[in-house]
Symmetry: C2
Subunit: 450 residues, 2 copies
Amino acid sequence: MSQENYAQISEVIESGDEQALIDLFEEMPAADIAGFIDENFEIYESLALMDKMSPEVQAEVFGYLRPNNQQVLASHMEVGLLAKLFRDMSSDERADVYALLDVKLQDALMRRLAKHDRDDLLRLSSYEEGTVGSVMTSDYAVIPASGTVEHALRRLRQTAPEKETIYQAYVIDNDYRLQGVVSLRDLITAAPHERIEDIMVTDLITLTPDMPQAESARIISRYDLIAIPVVSETGVLVGIVTFDDAMDVVEMEDTETMHKSATVGKIEGGLKDASVGMLYRKRINWLVLLVFANIFSGAGIAYFEDTISAYIALLFFLPLLIASGGNAGAQAATLMVRGIATGDVTRSDWFRMLGKELLVSLGLGLTMAVAIALVGSLRAGPDIMLVVALSMLAIVLVGSLIGVMLPFLLHRLNWDPATASAPLVTTIADATGVLIYFGMATSILGLPNI
Amino acid sequence: MSQENYAQISEVIESGDEQALIDLFEEMPAADIAGFIDENFEIYESLALMDKMSPEVQAEVFGYLRPNNQQVLASHMEVGLLAKLFRDMSSDERADVYALLDVKLQDALMRRLAKHDRDDLLRLSSYEEGTVGSVMTSDYAVIPASGTVEHALRRLRQTAPEKETIYQAYVIDNDYRLQGVVSLRDLITAAPHERIEDIMVTDLITLTPDMPQAESARIISRYDLIAIPVVSETGVLVGIVTFDDAMDVVEMEDTETMHKSATVGKIEGGLKDASVGMLYRKRINWLVLLVFANIFSGAGIAYFEDTISAYIALLFFLPLLIASGGNAGAQAATLMVRGIATGDVTRSDWFRMLGKELLVSLGLGLTMAVAIALVGSLRAGPDIMLVVALSMLAIVLVGSLIGVMLPFLLHRLNWDPATASAPLVTTIADATGVLIYFGMATSILGLPNI
């Protein structure tokens, strides 16, 4: 879809037919126009293209651009034009863009906005990133409890073009406190003279602006909602989070979790725009930490130097044994971390999951022990193969159990279970693997007197 | 929210007040009632609870239950009651439940359904899992192109209770071919006498039922849609995918990707319900494969046995060196895999990403080389530390570049980039790490004549 649309835009631009371009921009989805600009980004060309759009399309397209490009374009625009653009943008998107601008431009912009827009912008951009407040919008429709269905429908009709959704109308009192919600579905099926307070839903699911943004996505997904109201501590309606913003939150959160699973810190604004310096900072801490953690494995090897010198053939099997513990552990940890995150596994399931993992990893360990015994017997005698096979079983068991227990332990300590990343589990499994393998070798093969 | 609601249900059940329970079920979100039943699942108690719900609530709650519990309850229900339940369920959810039943029960159920429901059920459950067809619903509202706005609104009002969404109405011709879409927003803002064909949107984004389900989520999220129509090759409307189903798809797909990143195969129906046998089967293949892949590392060590025997102190640094390459590689691979999946990084970005990674990993490698040189000098002489520091730099560089290149390579071969899992990248990095380390040691330290 989008690739075809990009090609179509290119074609019309090359043809030089200005009217055709204007028409095209009116009918094509804003997301695709933005995608085209992002892919072929060049400051003055992009500004020239935006000039060919109606103010509404311009505002919508601008909202879809990559943050990096929004920032560059905004700082190259005449402030008056930027203020005009801001007036047409949805309130949550302009707050995001506003946060990207430098202080001088923010001030210049503010002076050109009407008081209402100014207050709204300041309020929305005051919430910390990652909170519900930072993803909510103030473009929602409100109706009074005392009115009728007919009255509410008329009001929705009038305000429809400015609102992000009119499929939910929020019922408020004189102090803007949220009283209830009416869906447009209920409104059009109700009789025109019915009173709003008689048909509104009052048993509401609400958020507060300081909750983590992930909570809004979790609740919207759990209850299949189009939007969810955000209220202050005193019950005043301060915004709504819509399903489409919740989907963006899910994508952001899952990206963060996946990065964390490989010990990469939170990257703002996408990988493509991330600077070398930022990528370095987000990766170095854990890498250095793990270097030191791996000293334990080295110390284990040093401790068994005599055994190794005597049976140097043992070294051949070292990498595959310790890697196996880490791999099985990473599997178990990943299953648990994701299970906890989606709510599939709760704290009360701890013992059951541990028991299941014991059985699964027993099966895995046995299979892998047999596999390595078959192949390894070509390389080493039966005594060493016994050590290798027994070690494999023990290492896979221990690695898997570490993988199950670590996320639960972190969860119980109210840390993020995702800290039990594959590299961390692997490092711990490595160290125990060294001890198990050479410990078993020393006790079964004995230390020869050299 | 849900924990409070669970407590409330418990309380009312214990009080024995039947009417209070009936009232509670009428007002509480179905997702929470289902959550309570799932958490406290016991066949006959659950059936007794469902008996206290109105048919509509019963159908909605049943749709929210875990697949495992749906299956158990369905097979313990009287077939007539199950058929009644099916009539009230949404068409996509009942198709999912139907697929869980055994053939005998499926037949018995079919005989009790009206022809319309039977055809719909057969059609929806005929699509392969993982396709758009398997997540779409047939509970959408259709209107003729020739009618007026007033006529369309009347029709939506009448059919509202049975439809998953009435916020999009699909305009079809006599052969059920999709002509356009009108949103309820447009309908209520248009004049009553306007004709549908004059206000409908005809430049449509559509799906086909055989597309991968992930595509529906990607498009709904990209274009911020409430629902997206699914059409056959001949343009006939066969279903819609709604935003809430798309959110479920995102969760499923991200779960699958995360599992894949740790070499775990696709687990059907949640971790909690997965059997020991299934977990074993989904984990064993890659584990055994990686055991054999790790033989390369072992062979590398064996090849350098003489060097190792001469400088046994080298072994102390082996685990941390090879782990560092794997860890840096896993970071790079995870960033790429997720970047490709979200569309943040495209094929044309390959060179730019590789160049960036070269700089980042140079910085990472230098930092880690300095860190290990400082600590390691307590343990080994300057010649060995030179070998260790240089190896660290080279290993981190090579590991990172493998991490960047492998996902792109897989992507180019039209394989799933997520196959470049942390364990696979680590295994490859381990083998190269062994060669780099001992190769460098042999050439710098020289092979002593014993």
